[in-house]
């Protein structure tokens, strides 16, 4: 570089010099697969013009375990624990979707008590998933404190899971036809105590971030996507709702016991990272509302429907989807009348949502790519299956 104080070159000449000195061509850089901000093993190839993103390409599949192939070689019941390992931070939701799909295929309905237990645990899991998202997303952007707060409070949810079924993460909480375990002694008190405990904690997270100037500047207007683009790209879940589309499978096509509860679907307007943050925060409060109602009026009765010991659904096919914390999680199951599914297709929300990354980061800065990957809330175990 030319030293301005001793140089006699004019301003114009300096620019000429810079042109050859600094390469102004497009730059291709590689992010991941081993990168702390990609939430697993995601590789993104970025095409850059300086700091500006011109395009991206995602390289995925590093965690591919062939879940759909495994399903064809296991019985219906044996495959149940495998689904927990897709979105491993929301294992309860995965299990619920799978069990309900097979129940539909068998044409049985889980008893009301089982459905209430399912709703309580699934909503607790949604909270746990959103807490993990918030902590890691804030960490990516540079706020370290929320991570400690959310992990501290998420622990209370995992404790309830552990007491209920013995596992904290890959819970295998439900069985085809209902629940295997009755609630433990003091389950309702534990859940109620948790609700009282966690409500002010969510306010606390908001205090840390919602009006925090750094947070607002890093998220507002970043990774914008319109509702129309979301629908065209098949994006669902909080990302779709933050773009102003009021759609939630729990309301549109209620499953389990969701039609019994009073709750709202929070939506955003701008479809940016900040709105997605607000939507998820509001969703956490709605989950509390659902759990509160469910635990108040949990009915007595059996927890398991009459399901044959050997599950052999009649020949046919079914598509069933639920609102997982990340979006629409669907199972398309084809039965040939045998004990093993002929084909299981998982419609993973993370996989489809990740496709929107390119649209969301074009024209933005490299640093925003990190923010957008965080805001999409992907779990690579589910993307790759």
């Amino acid at each position: 570089m030319t030293d301005g104080s001793t140089s006699t070159t004019s301003h114009l000449e300096l620019e000429e010099h810079d042109k050859t000195f600094l390469d102004s061509n497009e730059l291709i850089i590689n992010m991941g697969p081993q990168h702390p901000a990609t939430h697993g093993v995601l590789r993104v190839i970025l095409k850059l013009d300086g700091e500006k993103v011109l395009g991206t390409e995602c390289v995925i599949g590093y965690l591919h375990r062939g879940v759909e192939k495994i399903a064809e070689n296991r019985t219906y019941a044996m495959f149940n624990p495998y689904v927990d390992r897709m979105d491993y931070v929301a294992a309860v939701s995965n299990g619920l979707g799978y069990c309900e799909a097979v129940e539909k295929l068998l044409d049985v309905k889980a008893p009301p008590r089982a459905n209430y237990i399912r709703v309580i645990l699934t909503e607790l899991n949604r909270l746990a998933s959103h807490m993990l998202w918030l902590g890691t997303h804030a960490l990516d952007i540079g706020a370290i404190t929320p991570l400690f707060y959310t992990f501290r409070d998420r622990e209370e949810i995992l404790k309830i899971f552990e007491k209920y079924c013995g596992a904290r993460l890959t819970t295998h909480a439900f069985r085809i036809g209902g629940c295997l375990y009755e609630t433990y002694e003091g389950f309702e008190q534990d859940v109620k105590k948790f609700l009282v405990f966690v409500a002010p904690k969510i306010d606390e997270y908001e205090e840390l971030l919602t009006t925090n100037r750094i947070w607002v500047e890093r998220t507002k207007g970043v990774g914008k996507i319109s509702g129309k683009d979301c629908i065209a790209l098949g994006v669902t879940g909080p990302v779709l709702r933050a773009s102003g589309v009021r759609w939630d499978v729990r309301k549109a096509q209620p499953y389990a016991a969701y039609s019994d509860f009073d709750f709202e679907i929070p939506v955003g307007q701008n479809g940016d990272t900040y709105d997605r943050y607000l939507v998820r925060m509001a969703e956490m409060r709605q989950s509390l509302r659902i759990i509160r109602q469910a635990v108040e009026k949990i009915p007595e009765g059996p927890i398991m429907a009459k399901v044959p010991k050997v599950i052999k659904p009649p020949v046919g096919e079914i598509y069933h989807s639920i609102e997982a914390p990340k979006g629409e999680l669907g199972y398309f199951i084809v039965s040939d009348g045998s004990t093993q599914p002929y084909r299981v297709r998982v419609r993973p929300p993370s996989f489809v949502n990740l496709q929107a990354l390119d649209v969301m980061v074009r024209g933005q800065l490299v640093a925003d790519v990190i923010a957008v990957i965080g805001t999409l809330d992907i779990v690579l175990g589910e993307v790759d299956r």
């Binding site: 599949g61 065209a232 790209l233 098949g234 994006v235 084909r343 297709r345 419609r347 996989f351 790759d384």
Partner: protein, 159 residues
């Protein structure tokens, strides 16, 4: 809806029925992608939930490709199915729904079904250069591309 479509497309629309409360219809391969376009524009099926395939090796046309569609306005789902022979390609539906891009790549990766007009049809979950399409029925559960594993990972076997 099915009646209108039948009037429009004639015998190209085969079986259209409901199983366990879910609608589906089997259409002739030649109607793809027009029927998808019509479903999106006229019948408001604006959200393509999923595209997948099922392999029936003993059938004359062994692949059944399934489009699962959803309409926000009607709050309804429908499955459109078509049967194709091994090696037969299908027109891509990326122009209809951009979301089909990755989903069709996965169908290609897992079944080897080609989509004509797809902007970038290549493997998505398995590495480039892998041999075989794992969700075909003849592909064994522990089968792998040994050569690829040995060359690229430097180990005898991935098992």
């Amino acid at each position: 809806m099915v009646a209108t479509l039948k009037r429009q497309f004639g015998s190209g629309i085969g079986e259209a029925s409901t199983y366990l409360g879910q609608d589906y219809m089997v259409v002739d391969r030649s109607l793809i992608p027009e029927i998808l376009q019509v479903l999106r524009d006229q019948e408001q099926f604006d959200y393509c939930v999923d595209i997948t395939a099922v392999h029936y090796p003993s059938r004359e046309k062994p692949f059944e490709v399934v489009w699962i569609l959803y309409s926000f306005a009607r709050n309804e789902r429908i499955r459109v199915k078509t049967l194709i022979a091994d090696g037969e390609a299908l027109p891509s539906s990326v122009p209809v729904w951009p979301t089909a891009n990755w989903i069709e790549r996965e169908v290609y990766d897992m079944f080897g079904i080609r989509f004509e007009g797809h902007p970038d049809l290549k493997r998505i979950l398995l590495p480039e250069g892998w041999k075989g399409h794992p969700l075909r029925k003849e592909y064994g559960i522990i089968q792998q591309d040994k050569e690829w594993v040995q060359i690229n990972l430097g180990i005898e076997s991935g098992q």
